[in-house]
């Protein structure tokens, strides 16, 4: 399994267009939206608040794009079939995909934090940097799993649009682009049902050095379980069909 993971991570990072766009876009959005801003939001400065929002956006974008598209492509060319003729177990294959997506997602989080620190001069105690970084990274596992699910749900052509809808939909509704406090009442209710909202909350509270709220962790864990079960079911369906 170690060799496959090594090969997959190498493959993901070697694809520079993928890396530049997945990690670069949130960075650009962050730099543009915080440009010249001195106002404050959520009890902290905009540059610091948006750092977490964009780190979450970056992490989930990386997680989503690093897993599913390759799975749907590999299903189409039959690589998953060929792997079934080796001693590699299917659980191993999926675990490697989740870990690869998670590695890219970590890189995306770190990249955004570096931009915040170096380009925008955001300063926090080290423990807060690490606390929020780890919280965002761990929470993005939900999206790594969602990405696997989408890889089995879509084919390699339709997954592009599927990912975009899921990524932007969850990001906008979950309040990564605008704070949910600016939303009308009903939209706030919807926002609080999304995993992105809770992941962002997790990031914001750990950024301020607070312990993560139990409700955020519970909701994210719930999503993780639902996505994992659905992915496992879709995987079995795929295995029987091919």
């Amino acid at each position: 399994m170690g060799v496959l993971l090594e090969l997959e991570v190498k493959r993901a990072f070697k694809d520079w267009r993928f890396i530049v766009f997945t990690i670069g876009m949130p960075v650009v959005i962050y730099l543009l939206t915080t440009n010249g801003s001195t106002s404050s939001v959520g009890g902290t400065s905009v540059t610091r608040y948006l750092l977490v929002s964009m780190a979450v956006f970056s992490a989930i974008g990386a997680a989503l794009n690093a897993g599913g598209p390759r799975i749907s492509a590999e299903r189409e060319v039959g690589w998953t079939r060929q792997l079934r003729l080796t001693s590699m177990s299917s659980t191993g294959y999926i675990a490697v995909k989740v870990l690869t997506a998670s590695t890219v997602s970590l890189a995306a989080t770190v990249a955004l934090f570096l931009v915040g620190r170096l380009a925008k001069g955001v300063s926090m105690p080290w423990s807060h940097w690490i606390g929020s970084g780890v919280a965002i990274w761990a929470g993005s596992l939900v999206f790594c799993t969602l990405s696997i699910l989408l890889g089995y749900l879509f084919n390699s052509t339709s997954i592009t649009i599927g990912l975009m809808v899921v990524n932007l939909g969850f990001s906008m509704v979950g309040g990564l682009f605008w704070p949910t406090s600016t939303f009308p009442g009903w939209a706030q209710v919807v926002a609080q049902a999304t995993p992105t909202y809770h992941l962002a909350q997790l990031g914001h509270s750990t950024q301020l050095g607070q312990a993560p709220a139990v409700s955020d962790v519970v909701v994210l864990a719930g999503y993780l379980i639902v996505f994992a079960v659905a992915a496992a079911w879709l995987y079995r369906r795929d295995e029987v069909r091919v």
């Binding site: 170690g2 060799v3 496959l4 090969l7 190498k10 493959r11 070697k14 694809d15 390759r70 492509a73 590999e74 189409e76 060319v77 039959g78 690589w79 079939r81 060929q82 079934r84 003729l85 080796t86 001693s87 590699m88 091919v242």
Partner: protein
């Protein structure tokens, strides 16, 4: 009747089980339908260790489905498959079986040697990498990216993945599909070497000459059933038809000659297919056709195959 002594019967009986190791492949009455389409309608066969067997059939005959069931990728609706006496998945996991599938793709975006290294590390008792490279003849493409390989190179890479475990049985589904003539020739050279190493080979093909040139035994699959199980030579001799070619300037009607079932004529040369070549030749000579450069040849496996698959029910 005296009771047999322990040493004389009980032990040999036990040995009887172990001295006769299970065959490489034992398939019993496998059936598979997809919706209303019956892809495989009851195939039973056995392949011994070290045999080289061709599974011959037109597109849609059920070859791929049969091989999928053989490898445990598809579960038969009925019937059973045993490879070396074990369930297919177990035989694969223990490294006794390697396969090159038509639908089995290669991991994209990586180099040949990286993919081979991966397969090598996943294998239970792998051959040394250099040995796989040599046997599969991929030294020249080791640095190439998998997605940039030509059809023939891709198939050699797949073969490398199939033999990396040093398996006793290699199953190949149309291994030369998409290859040009030279690549096909080169590939079969490699396969003959594989057979010489004592590997059991089962390959599906629709190229008669491949079955003819490489296999000890031919299984003809048609519409989901096995229509024949014999050697290429037996299969060919089953049809008594011959092909006659010659030049002639005689203006007569060739199709009137005895035994003739098919006539092709171009600019003074004629090609006939005859049920009774002796009678046809006799009539040509006596009838004043003055045939020159006369050649009489057997029709080969292709015609034999066509004559079997054209008869409903085949030999059974």
């Amino acid at each position: 009747m005296p009771l047999p002594s322990r040493s004389s019967t009980l032990l040999p009986q036990q040995e009887g089980f172990s001295a006769q190791p299970p065959p490489a492949i034992r398939v019993e009455g496998i059936v598979k339908s997809y919706g209303h389409v019956q892809a495989v309608r009851g195939v039973t066969c056995e392949v011994g260790r070290g045999e080289v067997v061709a599974l011959l059939g037109p597109n849609g005959a059920g070859k791929s489905t049969t091989l999928d069931m053989l490898l445990g990728l598809v579960h038969p609706d009925a019937g059973s498959v045993r490879l070396f006496g074990q369930r297919p998945a177990d035989a694969i996991r223990s490294g006794q079986v390697g396969a090159m599938l038509q639908s089995g793709g290669l991991m994209p975006e990586v180099r040949v040697r990286d993919l081979l290294r991966l397969a090598h590390r996943l294998a239970r008792h792998p051959l040394p990498v250099e040995e796989v490279v040599r046997q599969a003849d991929i030294a020249d493409i080791a640095r190439h990216r998998v997605d940039k390989l030509s059809g023939g190179q891709r198939q050699r890479m797949r073969l490398a993945l199939a033999i990396v475990e040093d398996p006793e049985l290699v199953v190949l589904d149309e291994p030369t599909a998409g290859m040009d003539v030279a690549a096909r020739h080169r590939f079969w050279e490699t396969m003959r070497a594989q057979a010489h190493r004592g590997r059991t080979l089962l390959f599906a093909t629709h190229y008669m000459e491949e079955a003819d040139g490489a296999a000890d035994r031919v299984l003809v699959l048609h519409e989901g059933r096995l229509l024949a199980d014999s050697t290429p030579a037996q299969l060919k001799s089953r049809t008594g038809r011959r092909r006659l070619t010659f030049s002639t300037t005689h203006p007569g009607e060739l199709s009137r000659l005895p035994g003739v079932v098919e006539v092709q004529q171009h600019a003074g040369t004629a090609a006939l297919v005859s049920d009774d070549s002796d009678a046809t030749v006799h009539a040509l000579v006596v009838g004043g056709w003055e045939p020159r450069d006369l050649e009489v040849t057997g029709l080969g496996l292709e015609q034999a195959y066509l004559s079997i698959t054209a008869t409903p029910g085949g030999e059974h």
